[in-house]
């Protein structure tokens, strides 16, 4: 059976094709990865989802894929990075929309591990590149190592999940965490524990960085 290679000419088209692909019983990782990579990032199309936080990276839901997948945009300020984490038995696609992100792969720690986790490899992903990972491949840390540029990435997770494990690099100990959305469908989701978001005057710097309106 031939695998069709789709070309998404806009973010909207990307979402439409994804819905079609995931309506089938079987979805090909290669097909999805090629589709994600085919979309040429156009900030005008995703700016409304790209909400930055000065303290850490944000997760902004774009589409919930009829329950089959979550499509979200992550915004990384300078120096922002994630913990080492797994993907709760789901597929994870990560496409760079702006800037660069460093991905460091790690081996799963030993069961009773009490030593430093083993780094497998690292690479810097460039604009429009799309990476793929799942738990059988390993664990990873993603970070924006730039001190001058912010980064934006488009993530697809299937099936959707809202919790995962984070790992301490020095010991391999894991810790389950719940993941939340900073915004959904372009609307900021406030939660009580981060009250101070509303109190602090938002720094306008980041949305002006690209020189848009």
């Amino acid at each position: 059976m031939e695998t069709e290679m789709w070309k998404a000419r806009s973010l909207e088209e990307l979402v439409r094709i994804l819905h079609r692909l995931f309506a089938e019983d079987k979805v090909s990782v290669e097909e999805v990865q090629a589709l994600m990579e085919s979309y040429e990032s156009n900030p005008e199309e995703w700016l409304q989802y790209a909400k930055f936080d000065q303290y850490r990276y944000t997760r902004n839901l774009v589409d919930n894929g009829n329950g089959k997948f979550n499509l979200m945009i992550l915004c990384w300020g300078e120096g922002h990075g994630s913990s080492i984490h797994d993907h709760t038995d789901s597929h994870c696609f990560m496409k760079i929309l702006q800037g660069n992100l460093k991905e460091t792969l790690f081996e799963w720690p030993e069961k009773k591990g009490n030593g430093e986790m083993t780094k497998k490899s690292e690479r810097v992903l460039r604009e429009n590149q799309c990476a793929y990972i799942n738990d059988s491949i390993g664990l990873h840390r993603v970070e924006n190592i730039s001190h001058t540029e912010s980064a934006v990435s488009l993530h697809l997770y299937s099936p959707p999940f809202d919790s995962c494990n984070t790992f301490d690099q020095r010991t391999g100990h894991k810790h389950k965490v719940k993941m939340t959305f900073y915004s959904q469908f372009g609307e900021r989701t406030l939660c009580v524990s981060r009250r101070w978001h509303a109190v602090l005057q938002p720094l306008t710097e980041r949305c002006h960085m690209w020189g848009w309106g």
Binding site: S146, H173, W196
Partner: protein
Amino acid sequence: MAAAEPGEPAVPEEDPEAEPEPELELSAELRSRRSAEARRLVLSPRRLSGPLPAGLSQWFPALELLDVSGTGLAELGGGLLALPRLHTLLAKNNRLGGPGSLPKGLGQAPLGRSLRVLNLSGNRFAELPPALLGLRGLQSLSLGGNRLHGIPPDIQELRSLEFLYLGGNFITSIPPELANLPSLSYLVLCDNKIQSIPPQLAQLHSLRSLSLHNNLLTYLPREILNLVHLEELSLRGNPLVVRFVRDLTYNPPSLQELAGRTIKTRNVPYAPSDLPENLVRYLSLASNCPNPKCGGVYFDSCVRQIKFVDFCGKYRIPLMHYLCSPECSSPCSSASQSSTSQSESDSEDEASVAARRMQKVLLG
């Protein structure tokens, strides 16, 4: 999009043999774009060899945001000084850093009073430019990706600072005066060469996020547990010690120290007129031994000890304690000294309570 490389101006040349004069072109371009209402101005990438035009404040009097990133600027020039409404200046990825990069009289000018956000990342500053210290209203400062070797104590003059980004430099130590910034909530010191954190940093009560990854830290001061509002802390990429360490070089206290300790612990009354000024000052420098059973003080003679504290029940952070004598024990753990011991003790001690208050730690 993201700040691009400095490039040639896009204006077609009429005489292919004439050298382009970027400053004249810029002046002409800005003069033709002048606007009394415009609040934002973003310059396209180019390669300037001189400062911004002097006419800037006349042509754009209402300017609130100016982005001159990626334009090759080696000095900003005085044209900015008279912009009374400018609150955001982005000058990333330029050639700033030499003397005269920032205009003289910055603190006293209208710009000095209005500026809230200043981004000088990706330049060539080897030291924090003194001209900056006059910006009393500055809330956000970035000098990421420069060539800083240190932070001047005078940084405490930036009284309004909330956001300070100094990642990606060559900083080796942090002055305790940094702790005198009352509103600091976001401090980024990652990717530097920092070997220790001054305990005074725990006085930054507003600190929400502290980024220390990729430095040369072997331990943290115990006082870091006092940062009760800290929600983000990154420590990966530091050679943090993993085994219990007891510093065996204990210098016995001097007679002056023993006398000082006695006066403090026995509450011997004294007035400033009773003692020479230097001894009054000496007595005021007493530090409390954290051992709850001791209640003593120490001056210069102390035992350094590294103990581990669990954060969130999972991560073990090495904290440095100063105890007044080898007989004292740290409040953090009364358990055994092996590296694999759990540091939960039977009774709540102040360190465990403080550690649990830290809501999120981004570690390793």
